[in-house]
Symmetry: C2
Subunit: 220 residues, 2 copies
């Protein structure tokens, strides 16, 4: 196992390109999501071995569910299956998303908005499910104390997710697409051109090699 | 002049690398900022010719002013000089930042938080001066209506700045560093490795060539 001088404490993951991968493979778009589960577990295992302390997966958003129902069902199932597999692998699990909706998978309700330790609870793993950046921020307005306290970020829905040091995005697009706007403020963003179902551990190592050369200023 | 099929309406600019440029040129760090004014005007002229509708410059932040006073004075002056030059060039100008502080240059107070048209007012130009992402968001909590209205982004300090389609960052770092967290949610981020004082119009064209190939999904 390769050793790094400098490790991000918290890695965010945007697993993009499942549908484009499926089309390239001659499958229907929705068939891509199922092929994204294995990569997520492989990446988790690699991060666990390196000693990464926290990971956040961008599951699906409140906007994504406007897609055709076959696709919506497929990525809902992929999220449920992924979480069930992470439960078997010592994750300290937190699911964040809007549970006030039928599109939030009921299988994940027990883990929503409250961290649950499985096995030895070796790594904090956050999974965004029916998440919306606007929903996340507006959640703060539901707390009566926010106006007196005057610090919005203490009351957002994702307040228990820490700042991400590095965001990895698969599928080539160079944007954040609403992925935790507060926690990504200072994140170093590394884009991998390959589609998510083609995940290889080398992608992670490439990103970490690059991370060695960046410096952290946090706006100073 | 090159023509593009697809143009971003609004381009955000992170003019990073002034100090590194200065050190490389054998100058003191603070001497870099003055060399960043010309590039800003050159980029503005190029965007104006292309028909870009809005630009936002990341001037300096409430965190930046914790730097040594010689540097702070130098970037404050560079912002004032830049705004004065943009006034001569038909900008429809808006300065956004925390004016409740001595570090906000008093010369810019007339343009703060209120758009002012100069000459023919050909392009909306926003300049962030003593800006802070947290200040921007928390500004919403000062309005009594925000809790009833339940839509935070209608009340943030930068509400008059539109969504950025593309963010250009010079100086090689692949992060947003607190640059308008709401308006950058769906922005395509293009990083130029060269330092800002080395700006060339080719950098803009490189970015626009790349932009032709990206697709806009806005989270859908």
């Amino acid at each position: 196992m390769k050793k790094y001088k400098r490790l991000p404490k918290h890695i965010g993951v945007i697993p993009d390109g499942n549908r484009r991968w499926a089309v390239n493979a001659g499958l229907n778009k929705q068939e891509g999501y199922n092929h994204g589960i294995g990569p997520g577990l492989k990446l988790y295992e690699a991060c666990l071995e390196l000693g990464i302390e926290e990971m956040t997966y961008y599951g699906f958003t409140m906007d994504n569910v406007k897609r055709p129902s076959l696709q919506t069902k497929a990525f809902q199932k992929a999220c449920v299956d992924s979480v069930n597999e992470l439960k078997k692998r010592d994750a300290d699990l937190l699911v964040i998303g809007n549970t006030d909706s039928k599109v939030f998978p009921k299988e994940l309700l027990p883990y929503a908005m409250k961290r649950t330790k499985f096995g030895e609870g070796k790594m904090k793993v956050n999974f965004l499910v029916n998440y919306g950046w606007n929903w996340d921020l507006n959640h703060a307005l539901e707390n009566d104390q926010v106006v007196d306290n005057k610090n919005l970020i203490d009351y957002i829905a994702s307040k228990d997710i820490s700042r991400m040091d590095m965001v990895l995005r698969w599928g080539g697009r160079r944007r954040l697409s609403g992925f935790l706007p507060i926690q990504s403020i200072y994140s170093d963003i590394y884009v991998i051109d390959e589609y998510w179902p083609n995940y290889k551990d080398e992608h992670l190592h490439e990103a970490l090699e690059w991370y060695q050369e960046t410096d952290v200023t946090l706006g100073g």
